[in-house]
């Protein structure tokens, strides 16, 4: 702890500011006087963008070769219980933080909440602060706090600005997630209580993960509890049913954040708190999770094909895409995990953009039923263009970001989980089926009278979508800057798993010259020792 404190509190603690700036913004927005509600969105956007600027600055100063946590900051919080405010960022969380930093200002500036803007903006800022907190927390208690707190603003956004069945959707969303995290809280306390040493108890993630003092069976139970909480959040089949409802009923901005940021809490949690804290148990349970992931890929795709509501279709496509992420994570190879982490970002970008586009269609046509939409390409060619790029990214067309992520995941998992990978690859084809078919029904053909009057995108709307398309193309063409920063952290995580379980990563499919033979044996012995 003393070492952490020494490295942490010197100078400008950027991570604390990342969380504080939107939180302060939320308070400021909440105190905007009645009658000046028009100020809410500009002020809120300014705070959100300031946090976004900080996250970009973080990206610039991040040391890509360091596998450990950087910019750590530690402060004692509840000393009696060994709980501290401990935040830090590594290659695994870096891009999720940047995504959170950039997507909120875009959503706040570009999407009209269609209702009272003041509380909407304030809740959005609370959500941004809590999301940053969840991605940065390195203390189990602190993580749980943020993991739960994100529910409240999201609930408010769905309940306050959603569509006509929002009450049901919001309640379902809240209670599903809370039921999962209830078990996780018991598991957190159990882990902390059972690994207590003479030095007292601690909730510090690094200390607990390095100590690994739980009995094998206990760790497995605890992992199972964590996994349930994260599986609900991701969501994995069969605990996914809250997602289509929540997505469909949420306002566009809420859907974007839900898909881009909040689902990532589940997969990020699996990596950070599942793999790191319970390496042996993750290996033990990996077949279960990978199977659920593959079922999710196929099931999500099939159900998406059958949807009549465009937004629900995108929601089910999320189930399929998040299945890929889980498959990559539990491949336990550097390539697979890298792909999984990259795919989290990719899914955030492309599904976020898809929800924005569906929102734009709804604003124009006041329906999301695919059967009532037709030939929009004639009436709104620019929108059709944007939709094409985003959809193809989601399908996984080479040259766009989705391809890179899915390809890495499939390569990475083929080495360790061959048959699961074969089935998952079929999911890529299904994705092409349901998205292209939907595109065909909505945009192709000759528009009837109502659809022919659909307005094309306004400049503001184009500006909202532009950064998404830029990211889609950039990551698709040149993913190296991202992967270079993710790799050291992923590699060290897999080494950690090897050190603490009987798992050994498969040999790289590279012809290794003979002299490395002795090195290999040395590494093996070291690993076991």
């Amino acid at each position: 702890m003393s070492i952490l404190a020494a490295t942490g509190d010197a100078g400008f603690a950027i991570l604390n500011w990342l969380i504080l700036v939107p939180a302060v913004g939320a308070v400021v927005v909440a105190f905007i006087p009645r009658g000046r509600e028009d100020l809410a969105r500009p002020v809120g956007t300014a705070f959100s963008a300031a946090a976004g600027a900080l996250s970009v600055y973080l990206l610039a100063v991040f040391d890509g070769s360091d596998p450990g946590f950087q910019f750590e900051s530690t402060r004692s919080w509840i000393a009696d219980l060994g709980i501290s405010w401990h935040v830090g960022v590594d290659g695994i969380s870096l891009f999720l933080v940047v995504l959170t930093g950039l997507i909120f200002p875009i959503v706040l500036a570009g999407l009209d909440p269609h209702g009272d803007p003041k509380p909407y903006t304030a809740w959005m800022l609370v959500l941004q602060a809590a999301s940053f907190g969840a991605f940065l927390a390195l203390d189990l208690f602190l993580f749980f706090v943020f993991f739960e707190v994100v529910l409240v603003p999201m609930y408010m956004l769905i309940a306050g600005w959603g569509y006509d069945r929002r009450r049901y959707a919001a309640n379902k969303f809240f209670i599903y997630t809370m039921a999962g995290s209830a078990l996780m809280l018991v598991a957190i306390i159990a882990v902390v209580s059972l690994s207590a040493s003479d030095g007292g108890i601690t909730f510090d993630l690094n200390t607990l993960a390095e100590r690994q003092s739980l009995a094998t069976n206990t760790a497995r139970w605890a992992f199972a509890a964590f996994a349930v909480a994260f599986a609900i959040k991701i969501p994995l089949v069969p605990v996914h049913t809250w997602l289509p409802d929540a997505h469909t009923q949420a306002p566009t901005g809420g859907s974007v954040i839900l898909a881009a940021v909040m689902l990532k809490l589940g997969t990020y949690g699996l990596v950070r708190f599942g793999l790191y804290l319970f390496p042996e148990a993750s290996v033990y349970f990996a077949p279960v999770l990978v199977t659920l992931a593959v079922i999710g890929i196929i099931y999500g795709a099939l159900v998406a094909t059958m949807q009549t509501d465009l937004k629900r279709l995108v929601a089910y496509s999320s189930v399929a895409h998040m299945g890929f992420v889980v498959l990559g994570i539990f491949a336990f190879t550097v390539t697979g995990l890298e792909g999984g982490i990259l795919q989290m970002v990719n899914h955030g970008v492309s599904t976020g953009a898809l929800f924005i586009l569906v929102g734009f269609i709804y604003e124009r046509r006041h329906t999301r039923r695919i059967s009532e939409l037709k030939g929009l390409q004639k009436a709104a060619p620019v929108m059709a263009g944007f939709f094409t790029v985003v959809m193809l990214s989601s399908v996984g067309l080479p040259g766009l970001n989705g391809f890179v992520g899915e390809f890495l995941i499939l390569i990475g998992s083929f080495a360790t989980r061959r048959w699961w990978t074969v089935v998952a690859a079929a999911g890529v084809i299904l994705a092409a089926l349901y998205l292209l078919w939907a595109y065909q029904r909505v945009f192709h053909g000759a528009p009837d009278e109502v659809n022919a009057e659909t307005r094309d995108l306004l400049t503001r709307e184009k500006l909202v979508l532009a950064p998404f398309v830029a990211a889609i193309v950039f990551i698709g063409v040149y993913p190296a800057p991202l992967l270079d920063r993710v790799e050291p952290a992923v590699d060290s995580l897999i080494t950690h798993i090897e050190d603490n379980s009987n798992y050994r990563r498969p040999d790289q499919p590279v012809v290794v010259p003979a002299p490395t033979q002795s090195e290999d044996t040395g590494a093996e012995t070291g690993g076991e020792g």
Binding site: A79, V149, A159, R165, R167, F174, I175, A182
Partner: protein, 504 residues
């Protein structure tokens, strides 16, 4: 020395300062009664309220004084072993003081609006508060019973004070009969414990059991029966299932400020007595009573949550939710450890403030036909700060982080896990997730924008008038809930230092 019935009675030396909280409350109650009786019509309307407020504040200050006194010179037994002066007693003294101040502030506008007699109300409130403090500090079962009765009798009358409403009378009658019933159980329990240990003094009973070998107590069933009867009596008071039937009717029928006082101070006093008796005096027999309390906790949680979910009246809903919260506190009590006791104390303190705040908001929106949930629709739109405060109280009761309610829940679960009672920890947390629905329903209603189109329509509530005193009380409770949620360390330390000790 005074000869009484041929024996020499030596009056115990009394540390009057240590009795300051009780004396202040009693004195203020008598002052209100005398002055209002003598001056009658000429007594200004504000008089009794101000006296009660000053008395509550005085108790608070004297509580702090005693806290530092105990820290410097250690806990001690006063009035020849009848009462304990320890951190535990002081914590409850402070809690009762807060509850009195909150209730007086909230009741001010309520009494005026309902044309109720304020001197009686305030005098009864102060007497009930005295009883609550006596209960928390008693170290003899008979003294404890005296406290219990003073508290209960005050509450019986307060429940009936709104005599124009039929529900109030029914509620009071129910409360009185069931309360008397539970007192009888409690008394019988005292008799059993006396029979098997030879004393009503808790310290004596503990010492007796500590040097127990089977030869001395040849009738262990009598002691067990004593435990059971004492537990039943107290379970009535804290409204634990299956002794909870009075609570929903009484909370619903009583004036909202009184319901708040019942859910906070009266419940806390019941738990104080439970902790004193079971954790302190009968801690040795933990294996006998702890599983019973564990089962009681789960049953209480399930029934409280399930029944709260199906209510449509907000007061009744909060009554059932208050039953569920008794279940969480029992989870802490059953641990039978210092951590569990500290967790229960923390829970009681934070829950009391939340429930007082909730009833304070409810009392603003008073309707002749009760408080159906749809009366609260759009509250946040009309009165944003009050709506936000109610949201904080409800989220706190749901156990959402950054409120005191989360830390409280966390601590009781931790106490259960530390004792390896996994089933209880898991059951309590899973039920809490279902319980979130209770509060979400209300939150959804109060944040619903008037005129919004959704599956359920309802007339939006008229903007309630917020008297300054109520507003002050609500904001204070909200600030406490949030501050403890963000920086709970001070209250955790306070609860930890207040774990009771028993002095011979």
């Amino acid at each position: 020395m005074i000869p009484v019935l041929g024996q020499v009675f030596t009056a115990p030396s009394i540390d009057w300062w240590a009795l300051a909280p009780q004396l202040i409350l009693l004195g203020a109650a008598l002052l209100i009664l005398v002055v209002s009786a003598l001056l009658a019509e000429r007594c200004p309307a504000w008089f009794s309220g101000v006296v009660a407020l000053v008395a509550g504040a005085g108790v608070f200050v004297s509580g702090f004084y005693l806290w530092y006194d105990i820290r410097d010179s250690g806990p001690r037994s006063i009035v020849s072993g009848a009462l304990s002066l320890d951190g535990f007693a002081v914590l409850f003294t402070l809690l009762v003081a807060v509850a009195v101040v909150m209730t007086v502030l909230v009741a001010d506008a309520y009494l005026e609006r309902e044309h109720m007699d304020s001197p009686e109300f305030h005098a009864l409130l102060l007497l009930a508060a005295t009883g609550a403090i006596v209960m928390a500090s008693a170290s003899d079962l008979i003294v404890l019973f005296l406290g219990l009765e003073s508290l209960s009798i005050g509450l019986y009358v307060m429940a009936a004070m709104q005599f124009r409403r039929e529900e109030a009378q029914e509620a009071a009658m129910k409360y009185f009969i069931l309360g008397a019933f539970s007192s009888a159980f409690f008394l019988y329990g005292i008799a059993m414990v006396y029979g098997s240990t030879g004393s009503t003094g808790l310290a004596h009973a503990r010492d007796y059991l500590n040097r127990l070998d089977t030869a001395i107590v040849d009738q262990p069933w009598m002691l067990m029966l004593g435990f059971a009867l004492l537990l039943v009596g107290l379970a009535f008071k804290v409204a634990a299932v299956p002794f909870h039937f009075w609570a929903p009717d009484v909370y619903q029928g009583s004036p909202a400020p009184v319901s708040g006082f019942m859910a906070s101070a009266a419940k806390a006093a019941g738990f104080a007595a439970m902790l004193r008796i079971f954790f302190v005096a009968f801690g040795q027999s933990r294996t006998d009573w702890s599983p019973v309390l564990g089962v009681l906790a789960v049953v209480t949680l399930v029934v409280g949550v399930v029944m709260a979910i199906i209510q449509t009246d907000l007061k009744r809903m909060i009554a059932f939710s208050s039953i569920a919260h008794a279940g969480y506190i029992l989870v802490g009590v059953q641990a039978g450890t210092s951590e569990g006791t500290a967790a229960a104390l923390f829970y009681l303190f934070s829950y009391s403030l939340m429930v007082l705040g909730t009833f304070a908001v409810i009392s603003l929106v008073q309707w002749q036909d009760g408080q159906p949930l749809d009366r609260f629709e759009g509250l946040a739109d009309r009165r944003p700060l009050i709506g936000f405060a109610l949201t904080v109280f409800l989220l706190g009761q749901a156990g959402v982080p950054l409120t005191s309610g989360f830390i409280a829940k966390f601590l009781v679960i931790k106490a259960a896990v530390d004792e390896r009672t996994w089933w209880l920890a898991i059951a309590a947390m899973v039920i809490s997730a279902a319980g979130a629905y209770i509060y979400l329903r209300v939150i959804f209603a109060i944040w619903r924008r008037p005129g919004a189109v959704d599956e359920e329509g309802g007339e939006p509530v008229a903007a309630p008038v917020v008297p300054p005193a109520s507003g002050f009380a609500i904001l204070g409770a909200m600030a406490f809930t949030l501050v403890v949620g963000f920086v709970p360390q001070f209250l955790i330390e306070f609860a930890r230092d207040a774990v009771p000790v028993l002095l011979g």
